[in-house]
Symmetry: C3
Subunit: 674 residues, 3 copies
């Protein structure tokens, strides 16, 4: 990993050019007062960098960099390729992205472009080289962000589709092979020549969709890698290159994308106010913002997973983030809580979006650190307190490795396919485009509710915890399934959830009894399954089955839980079997919050008891020191009994093991285990 400062970077995106009047010095002074150590600049204003085709105006940023540097504030310099100037759109309308073949996106927002188009690339390269050439040497610049939240569209432009066809041609060799592998005998889809391939607009074949989504994500990876390589021609030693990832974008594969970056950077937006309350039985919608403490922690764990190492938070809520109809600024204390939670899971930068609330444009109600008045308000004061805390905590909390009790295998290809072919229904019976999360999240949340900490991986090889949970791994090759069995045989406890091991990497249902290649070791198989529209009580563990039932037939396994139902009762809900040195447990349903928690308490019986509004997470500093984070997610104060001797990182107190520590409303304590 690129060398980063030995403390948590703390700051905001800063758009001096958006301020309605001159206030550079005032802004930077207020940042310094709040102990800011970093700002991000320049990524949104291509038309300011280059007001006309080939006419460059690069000087405007100089005072910002100088002013930041004078105050010891580092700078991440962004490239502006995500927002194309109107003159470029006018000159080459063919670069306009298409959401359906031949239907161009209307201009007026950003990311409307087919970023694979050579006419775009020509201009993008030119402006990137100019900016990097001009500012890479500035001493304030510690790194670069190329583009911004890429992968926002599934591009249907002709060039993209033709290259998709070429990619298939290279991958499969001839149409006979594609016809066979995709099952194109079905509904008369056999191609006679590559030119027969239909465009994606009307496609309803899953096999096509698997390839299409993979290809789309590969375009994003290629584009960002290309830009990162451009920057690397200019950067000084020690400067990093990254991009900020919005993990819900449809065309981004964080795993492959970050192979081309020096550090992962992500934008975890989350809902504030009551959405952060614990205990939490809500089943809140998750969109590009997460909702719930467990969901915020999941977004942190996904960022850690991209490179299995600490990461940067390039954007997160300053004020409330969302449309003009969705202003919900945090309660006092929640900013600190969220920031420390992110740090506890490996964040080594907390950079807010953004410094000042904008006075014009789409995001007029995406709240910044400063309100529209430009005068420090509640947000600034809360963040200044947090800045002081980061100052005090110093290197102890920078680049933490978060604790993990259990590991989850996450499959982007399965998620993509389930967006179009979901196994779960919405409450009104329609397809649930978030079905992958409908399978994955209840397990992750169950671990969270059971007081466990989780790691997320995309390959079985990366697992180093005694429990591995795999829900919804619909697309899997033989090798991956065999590695899962190997994990159990070698002593791990493998937990399989619904839909895992059902299809091959082409999205074809396997011809085995399910779970394929694992049924024998699991001692249970199924060849039928059912959706549930009402919840079904379960015996054996507390809670209820929801949404799905696999018809598990036990050949040689112990039944852990069973359905209380005249039809489904014939099948167990959960089975378990010793395998080699380990164990395979099969969960044939989507557990509700109670059953999920009970499942994880059964999986990892040892756990402390904390009040229901409290979470405790732990992590290890690069130098081996051990840190604990205790949060109280409630208006109601709480008291927690400590298990070890600890020192208060943010204060002077030292507590012996067994002591009690008091938390106020929406409070967080950072403790060094000594």
């Amino acid at each position: 990993m690129t060398e980063l400062p030995r403390r948590v970077l703390f700051g905001a995106a800063y758009y001096h050019e958006y301020q309605p009047y001159e206030r550079l010095e005032e802004d930077l002074d207020l940042m310094a007062e709040a102990r800011f150590t970093v700002i991000r600049v320049g990524e949104s204003v291509w038309s300011t960098w280059e007001p006309e085709n080939g006419q460059f105006a690069l000087d405007w940023l100089q005072p910002v960099l100088d002013g930041a540097h004078e105050r010891g504030i580092a700078v991440i310099l962004g490239t502006p390729t995500y927002a194309v100037p109107p003159w470029l759109a006018r000159l080459y309308p063919e670069i306009t992205g298409e959401r359906r073949t031949g239907e161009r996106i209307g201009w007026g927002a950003r990311q409307e472009v087919d970023f694979t188009h050579p006419a775009f690339r020509f201009h993008a390269e030119r402006i990137v080289r100019r900016i990097a050439g001009r500012y890479a040497a500035h001493p304030a610049v510690i790194g670069f962000q190329v583009d911004n939240e890429p992968g926002n569209e599934l591009l249907h432009n002709r060039g993209v589709f033709q290259r998709f066809t070429d990619d298939l041609r290279h991958r499969y060799g001839d149409v006979a092979t594609l016809n066979r592998e995709w099952g194109l005998v079905y509904w008369s889809h056999r191609l006679s020549t590559w030119a027969d391939l239909w465009t994606p607009d009307g496609n309803v074949q899953p096999q096509y969709d698997v390839a299409w989504r993979r290809f789309q994500a590969a375009q994003t990876t290629e584009f960002i890698a290309w830009q990162a390589d451009l920057i690397r021609e200019y950067r000084r030693p020690g400067q990093f290159v990254t991009t900020c990832i919005a993990y819900e974008r449809p065309a981004v594969d964080d795993d492959r994308l970050t192979d081309h970056l020096d550090v992962t950077a992500g934008n975890p937006y989350y809902r504030m106010q009551d959405a952060l309350e614990l205990p939490d039985r809500r089943s809140a919608d998750q969109h590009w913002t997460s909702s719930g403490v467990w969901a915020l922690q999941l977004s942190a764990d996904r960022m850690y997973a991209s490179r299995q190492e600490p990461f940067l938070v390039t954007e997160t809520n300053a004020g409330s983030i969302g449309g003009p109809w969705d202003n919900r600024p945090a309660y006092d204390g929640q900013w600190r809580q969220a920031a420390w939670l992110l740090v506890s899971r490996g964040a080594r930068m907390i950079e807010y979006w953004h410094w000042h609330t904008l006075h014009f444009g789409t995001e007029t109600y995406w709240g910044g650190v400063l309100p529209h008045s430009g005068k420090p308000g509640r947000t600034w004061h809360e963040l200044a307190r947090l800045g002081a805390e980061f100052d005090r905590a110093g290197d102890l909390v920078a680049g933490l490795t978060p604790d993990a009790d259990v590991t989850f295998l996450f499959s982007l290809p399965s998620k993509w396919l389930m967006q179009k072919y979901p196994p779960l229904a919405t409450p009104d019976g329609g397809p649930d485009a978030r079905a992958y999360h409908g399978l994955f999240d209840p397990f992750y949340r169950g671990a969270f509710d059971a007081g466990l900490q989780s790691r997320i991986v995309s390959r079985p090889a990366d697992v180093d915890t005694p429990v591995l949970v795999v829900p919804g791994l619909y697309l899997a090759d033989d090798d991956t399934l065999d590695q899962l069995r190997g994990y159990a045989e070698a002593g791990g406890h493998l937990v399989l959830g619904p839909r895992t091991g059902y299809a091959d990497p082409e999205g074809r249902a396997r011809t085995d009894r399910m779970p394929a290649r694992l049924a024998e070791a699991a001692g249970a198989w199924y060849d039928e399954f059912s959706n549930l529209s009402t919840e079904v009580p379960v015996d054996g563990l507390d809670g209820r089955a929801t949404r799905w039932v696999d018809g598990l037939t036990v050949t040689d396994a112990t039944v852990v839980a069973r359905y209380d139902h005249p039809h489904f009762g014939r099948w167990p809900a959960i089975t378990t079997r010793r395998v080699g040195a380990g164990r395979i447990t099969v969960v044939g349903t989507v557990p509700d919050v109670d059953l999920a928690k009970a499942l994880f308490r059964w999986l990892v019986p040892q756990h402390g008891e904390v009040p229901p509004s409290v979470t405790v997470t732990g992590a290890t500093a690069p130098d081996g020191r051990v840190v604990r984070f205790v949060h109280n997610w409630s208006f109601t104060p709480a008291v927690v009994r400590l298990e070890s001797h600890v020192a208060d990182v943010l204060g002077d107190d030292v507590y012996p093991a067994g002591a009690e520590i008091a938390l106020g409303p929406w409070d967080v304590r950072v403790l060094n285990v000594t």
Copy 2:
């Protein structure tokens, strides 16, 4: 009717070409073991029959036909015109169907074609002749299915629209006549010449819509008749020609279509599991699958109605049928129940869709007889039991004429018009595109709940029961209305529901007091009406009025029920009057389940009492033998007292009149009245 085997045909659609590995012999052996007598083949794979333009590959089906024949399994051979090969789409993109003028359907599914286009017809004729020429003589082939579930789209292609204009020109003669008949004075729509006619995309005039929908259905009829005639050039004596009808398709008129077929064939898909439970107070959505026993029975009665004779079930649920998010395989026993119900209403073939669950393609989760594992599972075992029952029942149950206590008049043109101009609202106040069924179904279901059996007709002339119920007959010519009055005068009990007799065949509101041409005989009229957003209690019969109230003014009739409401209470809900030798009853509202049941108990007072989970249906064999079917639609066993002396068709028991017969969970008994 074409000569069909003297037993219920039993089998499945069989796609050997879709199997992921060779297993023809194994498949056919398993079919034979389950007593299959028929398979349907070949209708989906034009691109296999003709991999390139003019290159034919016809041999692949031979082993399937031979293998079936060896085992005594008959074959229905399909023509593949519903699924166009990619090469044809590439060569002649102008054959692509358009859902709006100029907007082509995306390729990638099936039925994307303008089947009226000569470039399509040229190729369709060629492949149909090749397949029929090759296989008509095969001894296994007992019949042909041309195309598949036709009428899936309202085609807006230029040729279709121009022929629509020509059709109007031929029908009306000149624009002055059209202007007058369609009321085109309204909103300045008078045409000056035929070229003035607007395309259907923006049309909001009901008169246009009536003609447009009729024309669309006529295209489907013409296409299927054309193909059927092609096949007739090749078929052997005794072989039948049909197509499989999905009755909810927007452009199919089963009544006219089946005039060109040798036998009706339909695809009644239905919801399994709790959807089949009785008693049933749910108001489930009905889509292309029915939901509820009454709704399954309705779909059977509609198939019988197409030609007023027994029919084939070409497709029905093997495993669960629906999207990947909608897997609900039957409870044990439900397959038998549904099959015997269909047979009791006149089905002489039960052919499941489909033999094996597909491993690729859109329908990967449309469940077949075999699961993805290819090993017989619960479905196969349940169907094998049923196969044995059909074997035992033999000719007694093949080609039954179902009993009918009451008759319903069904109007496709009224249904079509109400899809765009519905008289009923959805719960949120919007237009209910299923309003025709919103009017029709509560009456049909009331008869079902009252223990009655129904026949459906499209012309008053076809009625031969003492009660005729006519809800929602919005479009009707004078002659039809006069025939209805004539039915009553001749001794029948005519029951009119809301909207009947309101408009003429052009969809123009009549200028009479309503119900037009019937008000005087009914002794009641109305000139106003109201939608209801809340239900209104009714006095006189149990139950409530829903959705609609006609302001019935009694001139000379007896009030049967009245609204309990400060405004609507001025009008009766139901009136009745002797007319000639019969009677006319007017129902001014949509009855809820209680009121509908009470209405039919009042209409047909004599009825036996059975437990609330039990239905009893009856039918007559071609040779005059009388059969009874007793179903228990519940997990709870039931006991039924028999009214006649019967023999158990599926066992050896004989029961005297008055004996009790026990039914298990989801059980069915077939009894021969002796």
Copy 3:
């Protein structure tokens, strides 16, 4: 104002040309019997006036005008430009309106045209001149309606967009100015030349939207003014020119539009039956029909506001108005109630839409005075009673100035902007496109529920009541905000609601602490705010806060009400402060029905008590006589104690002050205070 008859005009739109058979004399006799004094004719049938390009047929209307005149029925003559003939659409398809750039509206309804297109204007002028030239001199004609409910579309045609760009060029001078004023630095939107401006289809920038909506409304105003000027070349002295306004149309600015008319004319459609019941706690959807007595009164007060003078009701419900699925004809008495309510608020014509219920076309179920039978039904009889009442009331009630206790400032530009950038969410969390009314209506309704009468203005200068309420005035220039403060300083009680004074006229958030330019005088400011998804109880006044909270910080004000909430409780809900001779009250939330009523009882403490189903409104005749209207909106009779000595305008009774007057179900009394 144009000279109008000294009595309330009473009648209907009359489409003799739509009748299915000849019945002119019968229709006119029935109108005369119901005391009709006016009909509107001719506005929908351009293709009848001009069956082919340049061939005119103008005589058909003569018998209608003659027949009306013979019976003393006046005529408003409409121009038919809202419904373009098919031949014109065929000749010049480029006149078709576009809802998105390049996407033409489908023909088949009406108002499909780009009315700014010269090819349309050429033909529109020709037909208007022909009709006006032919009939302006007819003695029956008292006025003209040009076009009909204009402003139905936001037109995206090329010419419209290019003139929009020209308009910006003229308004801002150069792109540098536009870049600065619109903040186009944001997201690289800076223009290099006018040709860079993007079309509105993909726009997400509020500043663009402000200009676009203003420009669209200006097109409508220009078109109507152009037609009105054409008519003025032909009209006789005393004949008025107007158009009928549907106030919810997206491109109509009634304030500016009516500057070019002689009298305001509007089409207040409303929901009948239970929607008119009081007391009313429903939060009914408001669409192009209002729902609730308060909402009907609001639509009347908006019509009065357009020119701050009495107005014509050109269309309102005869029978039920709406789609075929939404028939809800009034309860007995409701027609009278609604008509007298409109008159009490300044209506000097009540013209129903329409005489006879149409037998064909889209509006077959928009109910007329006569039902489809053509025989007088309940509606005719109810209206005949009302006609007699208007006859009796005579000049007393024609051209009333309605009483006003409080004034509301209404901002169309704020409403338009909030349709795309709403500050309020729907219950499911999405943007509420009716957010402006979400802010405005609860205050208006609070005044209504408190028994107060309201006036609506668009400029502070028009206020002449002691209380001025300003919710949701998001877009405001400095001068307007200063005038508001001036109103308070001069002795008025200014009540500010959420979002008022937040942005400048370009839609840019102001840089002040809020409410901008008013916070100091109000003694309270805020720099943050929150949406509410659940209601929050309030202390100090009865009721609850909903949807929005401003974080009010008191500098020098009295707290009237406070939130009962652990977070929001830090801020007051309502503050008040003496300012000069008056007072400023700030309401930081959207009050629920209880809080809104309590607020207005606090604002205007003196009020009489009437039963909860009763309203009392008052008005002054042009000659100074005072009238009271007492309505009982319920099936339950009510008794009201009179405060003054009154004479029953519709009867012979005279009541002393303190007497009680009895109202039947859905009754209304008109009283002359003597």
